[in-house]
Assembly symmetry: C2
Homo-oligomer: 676 residues x 2
């Protein structure tokens, strides 16, 4: 390019206004939705001005190095406005976000899914769409930033987490849990831009809410501002002030949904459907946008590239700081979550010791013992509990709590907020540098479902420590006794559900959870004490097979008992009684992880399940068990909700006992041998 | 009793102070927990003074007629403090709450479960324990009261809903959704007494929250007050003011957890464990309580009975008003939710008409058509949606919305609040007089899980309208596409999950949902259009059998295709192709409700499933299906999360097509005939 042309282009770029930049977003959003004949144009058009200022003036990202650890995180909590993000990515120059991708919006295999999907395109920091998840995940990211900052200093870690949230995000309950936690912990690097357009799907938000959001966020400890979301300088000033605040920030951006569409703007009609060809044309006239669909003039692209150049420059400075820092190399390793090999050695040693002892402990206690080993060997793990620390046993010796303004610890009192805990753990994992684990009672996985699902969908290494896992919790009664939760969690794709039966299996399951970097794991642990099932054993991590013969018989078994967790004890007692009292050989198969078992070769699975009649034993509902029982198998478990009473009595009451297993086994054996 | 004794007793009763009354609660709570060696003494002891004023001075209940429709509702949202409620019930004279029941606290079969369980004892208005559920359910009750009041007038309906909530309730996300809705709708008869003791399980609440709760509730539209929760007159004045307010009220009661236990009060140690014999003794000395365990002096019982007498008198006056009111009889019928027989006649007629037509509509649309019939025939139904009215199609012609201060309508814009919607529906049902239904996308059953579980546990007739039920929703992508939700919901005890395949089945399922008065129903409905499957049929409601042969073969079938909802169309197309192209007879079994199928006699179930090889077809995960497939059956469905694309392409992409069914059927038939 000759210098005159270059000068001309620079002049053109200089003449480009932020309004032009924003209109590029609007045009692309309209075009993308129109082409797909599906999607949400209203939000991108309404928030185009805010996004332009945020990305144009402030955000610190380098699209050429989208994984740069010290980048700002951007979370589109109002995920339905995905065309806003895709348009921004195209304009700012992420190489994978081509105009062709914009044209393929919402088509099979496109990077431009209906809602932003983590992993589909560079720079998508988290999957959003289920409302409120984004803001709560962002709290975890902002927390991760502060913890990493406390460990590595301002030179290496110093970035913001920006969120665009809609009315829906702020109405969802999870937003309350999230902002309470963020305000309490003074996560000053969290900046929430609220698309305050007064419209939701049913119509004006006044149909369903009268909340004073500014007062609400202030009550939670946020710095709050309200601005005209179409006034570029007001937006800029507000973001500047928010960045300087010692509190997390809410900026209420008063906007017009669908701004630019002359006949529809301000109406819920722009929310979730294409504007239609004629309204798109009218909007483009209104905006003075005289370009073909998906076409953005070079001068505007040039202006947008300035933001990328700013980020690239910041990254280069940062790289110099990393190179200069004595701990720079160690920092990079941490960010990649490199687990020291010594940890796995220590876990193997732990298992070795405990195979030889015969300690009877609850698996939640076993988990605490294992965590003691893990947390001593690495500080990648960030622990916590939703206010059940001494029940979940998630706090190990020497772990300091994270406190408001003080982030050197590694234990989080998440409060009575299971949903925000799960989402914050997603954020901690997504940010990089940490392996979060957090505890609650298994039954309250209900409360965290929305975020657990996202852990699985995004393939994040989040470890759930779910204790009090059955009627075995006793007196608290049916509201606290999970019966359907194992089925619910096992049905969830890409989630490993572990239900170990003793100390050794608990250690094995923790090891597997730590080794599986691309998937959440959920440990289901007993409140009550359980005996050792694996007192004499090999070095192999048998839980890695998902299911294995815990107790074999000398001859082919006459009956096979399948059980998990606390019911393995019952299976073993029944096997003992069958042999000693009836001379019947019963194999016991422990099944700590169905998901891993399903990944074994068919031959292995067949061999483990065997050909003898089978009895499944689990203090939960039957759903899912038929897969392993065969046509004539019997299930011994729960058929409805639990009850309030001491645990032993409940097992009797619901007929989940060794006696019941023996009786059933005798029937099955008799039937199999034709004596019935 | 002679009159002198009577006078002496009256004098003794008059000398009894509210402090004595409150100490009776404390003593019983300590004794109950100590005897059970399990439970939560701290909350009952801390809130004893507040409860004494509420029950002693204000509450309008008649323990002898615990179901009296115009009683005040009392909800112990902090359900772990159940001994507070049981002690109150004993003191105020519910006949089923004997001292023996208090002694049996947390034992099998006792009315005094670990957490208050609806239906276990008279006067327990709702099951609580999972934190935040109580306050959100109470919003539904308070709303029910206002709707009933609008319909029947002050003379017949005029009562309060009182809630005792703890820190946990206010931290849970559901509380945000609930108070936003209550404040918006100006539910002035809702009074929340917050046990503000600054203690949660992990320790001081300052570990995890800095929320200014008064400011927060004020932002939501509540009248707020803060008082010393141990100052009887302050408590009385605050409740009086709250009753007079035109807004819902929050009263922050500053209390000392475990008040009275000299060495432990104010500490989390009193929260969830017995105080121990010596501390109980010390507390009783401190309180001047010189009575045997579970013993309450007659004079104190006498004072407590005054509250019951006040309630009984109020009930008698109310009965007079009912007798005098022209609409009194009709009102009583409404409260019992008597569905007019004409409704079922109209539904039968609707089915008749639509069997003869061949309209291709989405089952969500079919549901709207059915609702048109239902809502025209009865006004017991209260509709609503979590801001997806025009997607769920829950609003029928002529339904007016309920608005702040105006409760004559019968449609609720619940806002983007699935969890509070479900809990409020529980409250509407529990209050009596209404059959609530509410819509959201099936995937967001995740957000409502906690309250759906309580619908089932309490056996409440709440009808969930869950649309967009699979990858069939298309472009919105995996965050919006349920795959594990059918399994999750089917695993939940006492919940009927209906997935109809066409207009006729949709009408049948709605009919079944209306007829089952003691159980929630959940309708799983398609976004996409579906053809009629039942064009020529009998009058019988075939969905009532749970599963039935939709399409028989002339000879015994060579293969049986099992399907639900939108996949019935695929099964039928495959059966057609198998017959016409391969001369193979395939039976099609529609399975709209697994739960009802499981309740059929074994013979029926065997006959329906047949002996031919089976293929299960459902656009969801396999978990649960093996029960119906048999050893050699094949499942065609989802194995992971969905994707963003137009629906038809997704069915192809995931291999859920008639072609795939045909191919699989050919393999199975070949194998069965030994040709493989």
């Amino acid at each position: 390019m000759n210098s005159q042309l270059q000068l001309q282009e620079e002049a053109a770029s200089a003449a480009v206004t932020e309004s032009d930049m924003a209109n590029a977003i609007r045009a692309l959003a309209m075009d993308g939705v129109q082409k797909a004949n599906s999607g949400h144009p209203g939000m991108p058009m309404g928030m185009a001005d805010v996004a332009t200022v945020l990305f144009g003036r402030f955000i610190k990202i380098d699209p050429s190095h989208s994984e740069w650890p010290d980048r700002d995180r951007f979370v589109l909590s109002a995920g339905h406005g995905s065309m806003l993000q895709y348009a921004l990515h195209y304009l700012i120059g992420y190489e994978d976000m081509t105009v062709e991708e914009l044209r393929r919006f919402r088509q099979l295999g496109a990077r431009t899914a209906g809602h932003p999907e983590y992993g589909h395109a560079l720079g998508i920091e988290t999957t959003t769409g289920p409302l409120g998840q984004g803001i709560a995940t962002a709290v975890g990211m902002a927390l991760a930033e502060r913890i990493a900052n406390a460990r590595h200093g301002d030179g290496l870690v110093d970035h913001y987490t920006y969120v665009i949230a809609g009315d829906g995000c702020l109405q969802e309950g999870i937003s309350h849990e999230a902002i309470d936690l963020a305000g309490h912990l003074k996560l000053s690097r969290l900046i929430v831009l609220w698309d305050n357009n007064s419209i939701s799907i049913d119509g004006p938000t006044s149909l369903s809410t009268s909340m004073n959001q500014l007062a609400r966020f202030e009550a939670a400890g946020f710095d709050v501002q309200e601005i005209d979301g179409h006034d570029f300088d007001a937006i800029g000033q507000a973001i500047s002030r928010a960045r300087a605040s010692s509190k997390p920030s809410l900026i209420s951006c008063r906007t017009i949904i669908g701004k630019g569409a002359p006949n529809l703007q301000g109406s819920e009609k722009t929310h979730g459907a294409p504007l239609g060809e004629s309204e798109v044309a009218a909007a483009k006239r209104e905006l003075g946008w005289d370009h073909a669909p998906f076409e953005v003039p070079e001068a505007i692209l040039e202006r947008w590239s300035d933001a990328a150049a700013r980020g690239a420059a910041e990254r280069r400075t940062w790289l110099n700081r990393v190179a200069a820092a004595p701990e720079g190399a160690a920092f990079l390793e941490t960010i990649d979550r490199e687990i020291p090999a010594s940890l796995f050695g220590a876990l193997a040693e732990f298992r070795r010791q405990h195979r030889e002892s015969a300690t009877k402990v609850a698996t939640r206690k076993a988990s605490e013992m294992v965590l003691g080993v893990i947390n001593a060997a690495t500080d990648l793990t960030i622990g916590g509990s939703a206010d059940l620390t001494h029940s979940n046993l998630t706090l190990t010796a020497g772990m300091e709590a994270i406190r408001p303004g003080s982030y050197a610890g590694r234990y989080i009192h998440y409060g009575i907020r299971e949903h925000a805990m799960a989402a914050a753990m997603n954020g901690l994992a997504l940010h990089g540098g940490f392996i979060p684990y957090g505890g609650t009672f298994l039954v309250f996985s209900d409360y965290a479902r929305g975020a657990i699902r996202l852990s699985a969908l995004m393939g994040q290494q989040v470890i759930y420590v779910m204790t009090h896992d059955s009627i075995g919790l006793g007196e608290d009664g049916p509201t606290h006794q999970p019966v359907e939760h194992l089925a619910m969690l096992r049905a969830t794709p890409n989630l490993n559900v572990f239900r170990p039966c003793d100390i050794v299996e608990t250690a094995e399951c923790w090891e597997l959870a730590l080794k599986d970097r691309d998937r959440p794991s959920l440990l289901v642990l007993s409140r009550q004490n359980l005996p050792m099932g694996r007192s004499a054993d090999s070095e192999e991590n048998l839980s890695a097979r998902g299911a294995y013969v815990l107790r074999a018989t000398s001859e082919p078994p006459s009956v096979t008992l399948l059980a998990t967790g606390s019911e393995v004890e019952i299976a073993c007692a029944a096997a003992d009684a069958l042999l000693s009292e009836h001379g019947i050989g019963a194999a016991v198969v422990s099944m700590p992880c169905w998901e891993l078992f399903e990944r074994q070769p068919l031959d292995y699975r067949k061999a483990i399940l065997g050909t003898a009649p089978r009895i499944g034993i689990e203090a939960a509902v039957r759903l899912g068990w038929d897969r392993y029982l065969g046509e004539d198998g019997v299930f011994i478990g729960m058929t409805g909700f639990g009850a309030s009473a001491p645990a032993a009595g409940l097992y009797e009451h619901f007929g989940i006992t060794a006696g019941a297993v023996v009786e059933t086994a005798l029937e099955l054996v008799a039937r199999a041998s034709g004596k019935d």
